[in-house]
């Protein structure tokens, strides 16, 4: 079973929920940090990295001796990553989205395989939890292919928890598509609700069952709960705005270790997710 912990709004507690749930699991699990633009699971679980792999993506490499400057490659590229001026072809690697259209359309087979580094995938273990994390290369804009590599690194059997990036754009979709359940962490504030609605919209487009965790649940107002009732979204856990929890987090410690009564609450959260996944109709969108 794969659970993606997402949020819409940033800073609601995705990593807190993902790491504490992972650490409480009786049967064990693998934790994937798919927030490759700023991975932070390592700040809490301190995994010792055992293996590291560089991830690259295709960019066009033009063979000037074969090129006839027909411009078909430049015309097909919607990202303007390749331009033809006079008898010169210029490639702009940072704009390329690796679709390979230029290579397919070139009538002279003048476009070969170049590479651009996207980042690294790292394997390790922290606090007894197997962790796989992606780290994007500084300056790189294209996160989804790296996120897919992190996801492919997880073993297919067993439970996998994904710490997803915030927002609702392509990286988030890459971290949610094809999972069994999306756990949306929100907070009872106007921003929390606004971005939650966007996130729920994305999850529904992907046709994945989802539920909510309301963090800092005793502040703000009641509109997130009203929205949840209206949309029939189950609230699976509420975490209060508790100074002890905030202190534990800010020291980089685990709530389930410092405040052991929370271990059972996170186990219960997982059991409630499990029940919902078992009850959900099968045959959803594949990855």
């Amino acid at each position: 079973m794969i659970i993606s912990v997402a949020s819409g709004k940033g800073g609601t507690g995705k990593t807190t929920v993902a790491t504490n749930m992972a650490l409480s699991m009786e049967g064990g699990c693998t934790l994937l940090d798919c927030d490759v633009e700023e991975p932070n699971v390592h700040l809490f679980l301190h995994p010792v990295i055992e293996r590291r792999e560089t991830v690259t993506t295709f960019i066009p490499a033009v063979d000037d001796s074969r090129c006839t400057w027909c411009r078909k490659c430049a015309d097909i590229c919607r990202f303007r990553a390749i331009a033809v001026v006079g008898q010169k072809v210029l490639v702009f690697p940072e704009l390329c989205h690796s679709c390979g259209g230029c290579q397919v359309i070139c009538p002279e087979q003048a476009i070969g395989e170049g590479l651009r580094e996207l980042g690294v995938v790292e394997w390790g273990e922290g606090a007894g939890v197997p962790v796989v994390q992606g780290r994007i290369r500084v300056g790189e804009a294209m996160a989804p292919p790296l996120i897919r590599k992190v996801r492919a690194a997880a073993k297919s059997d067993g439970t996998v928890i994904i710490d997803a990036p915030p927002g609702t754009s392509c990286p988030v979709i890459a971290a949610m598509r094809g999972v069994d359940f999306v756990l949306l962490v929100t907070e009872p504030t106007p921003f929390g609700l606004h971005d939650l609605e966007l996130a729920v919209g994305a999850v529904r487009l992907l046709d994945i069952p989802c539920g909510l965790v309301i963090n800092r649940a005793d502040m703000g107002d009641d509109r997130v709960r009203q929205y949840a009732r209206r949309e029939q979204l189950p609230v699976l856990l509420e975490i209060p705005f508790d100074r002890r929890i905030a202190e534990t987090y800010s020291r980089g410690r685990m709530i389930v270790e410092e405040l052991p009564e929370w271990k059972e609450k996170f186990r219960d959260l997982f059991r409630r997710i499990e029940e919902r996944v078992e009850a959900a109709p099968k045959g959803r969108t594949e990855q």
């Binding site: 303007r80 331009a83 001026v85 006079g86 010169k88 210029l90 704009l95």
Partner: protein, 119 residues
């Protein structure tokens, strides 16, 4: 000789648009005949990315040998350099003034881009 000038409007009395890739219009002026061709750059104004690349390719295809504008980013500059188009920067005033300044040789040309990408 054909020169390209970024412009806020469609005629020579318009003010120069300091942006290159996302300029409202680009006027291709023939300095000998004073003929002026208007390129509507609307598509590039709202382009997601690659506005400078597209605009630079366009003026190269129009046969311009010089570009007069305010600021030119690194990607556009690479294309202009490859096409052998000289770039005059920090241009202001009306397009007509700029054409006169060009004919009188009062333009400063740049050797590298003078703005960052996504400026």
């Amino acid at each position: 000789m054909k020169i390209a000038v970024t412009s806020m409007g469609r005629d020579l009395a318009s003010a120069v648009d300091p942006r290159f890739g996302r300029a409202a219009y680009i006027l291709i002026v023939d300095t000998d005949t004073k003929d002026c061709k208007v390129i509507d750059n609307t598509v590039n104004v709202s382009a997601f990315k690659g506005a400078g690349i597209q605009a630079a390719t366009m003026i190269a295809e129009e046969g311009a040998e010089v570009l007069l504008t305010g600021y030119c980013g690194p990607n556009a500059f690479r294309i202009l350099e490859a096409a052998g188009i000289k770039v005059g920067s920090d241009i202001s005033g009306t397009v007509a003034d700029v054409v006169v300044a060009f004919v009188e040789g009062k333009i400063n040309y740049i050797e590298t881009a003078n703005a960052e990408g996504h400026w």
